[in-house]
Subunit: 187 residues, 2 copies
């Protein structure tokens, strides 16, 4: 349960090919051909890097015990050999969101927006790992980096998932979002 750092560096190298980058809201990220996902913090990724985002896995912030049980029963970890498609979706939420007390954020997150409930419908097809960046000392440009992996045949399913989430009450607080789609060769 200790925080684990990950760095996502876009540039000339990396095992994931960047297929498409779409800016949903806020400023875009620079285009690049490949993405390198590294376990740990990369001090300096060198001159050929277009951008590097870092985040840490952490404890859950909204999930209850019963929701946790349902998630754990269905979810799978990233790294499956047939999951040759991925999405990196960096998100920032506005100051209004962060200034809300915990009970109101929870209410918007699940009671109104069904974030967990919607996500559950797409398990185990879509594997997911959430990285927090807001509390890093380095003042990152996003609050969260979510990494998703799925098989090519589940891409439509994944598109449906993100469209449903973007239509929720919770997403009204998102003021920066980039949707980065990736592909790799089968292991």
């Amino acid at each position: 349960m200790t925080a684990r750092s990950f760095t996502f560096a876009a540039g000339e190298s990396g095992s994931w090919r960047i297929v498409k980058m779409r800016t949903i809201v806020g400023p875009p990220l620079a285009e690049a051909p490949r993405l390198n996902v590294t376990d740990g913090v990369v001090a300096s990724a060198g001159g050929r890097v277009a951008w590097a985002l870092q985040g840490v896995t952490s404890n859950e912030r909204y999930v209850t015990r019963s929701e946790r049980s349902r998630l754990v029963a269905k979810q799978e970890a990233p790294g499956r050999s047939d999951a040759t498609r991925a999405a990196l979706i960096p998100i920032r939420k506005n100051a209004t969101w962060w200034d809300l007390p915990q009970d109101q954020r929870r209410r918007i997150f699940e009671t109104q927006s069904r974030h967990i409930g919607i996500g559950l419908e797409y398990l185990p097809a879509v594997a997911r790992r959430l990285h927090h960046c807001r509390d890093l000392a380095s003042h990152e440009p996003f609050d969260f980096l979510t990494w998703f992996e799925f098989a090519p045949s589940d891409e439509g399913l994944f598109n449906d998932l993100v469209e449903r989430l973007r239509a929720t009450e919770e997403w009204k607080y998102v003021d920066r979002e980039v949707d980065i789609r990736l592909s790799r060769d089968r292991n």
Copy 2:
């Protein structure tokens, strides 16, 4: 509401004199005569530093709207000229705590331990600023650094506050805690 970094460096310099350091549980911190509290992250504090702890202020994790209203109505910020006594209390919670879902952590935190309710009784005498360190990429030795300031005449009150919190259910999850008492000249 953006995260703000603070560094607490113990050594030969700093406006706060370390009066007493008491290890409550877990490994101690090295003794030093003074504490330097810096806004920001100090890359390297130099050879005369016994230890340096860093943390960031962040959004609240457990407080509800009604609790927030009561806190805001009563609390005062650090920096009052008559608050010449302070305490820095770094805390780490064990893996069992962090693995609990949000609803159970909230229940232990407030329903069973009355962390917010107890704290409210000591406002505005005791000013408080909480720093999170668990999600920093740098793998800090503690999860939280809490900074308290009060007038010399309120030291007994403050001792009462920390003793009551240490007797709670929540504190059974604390596996490292050092209580550092400080003093400075009046502004």
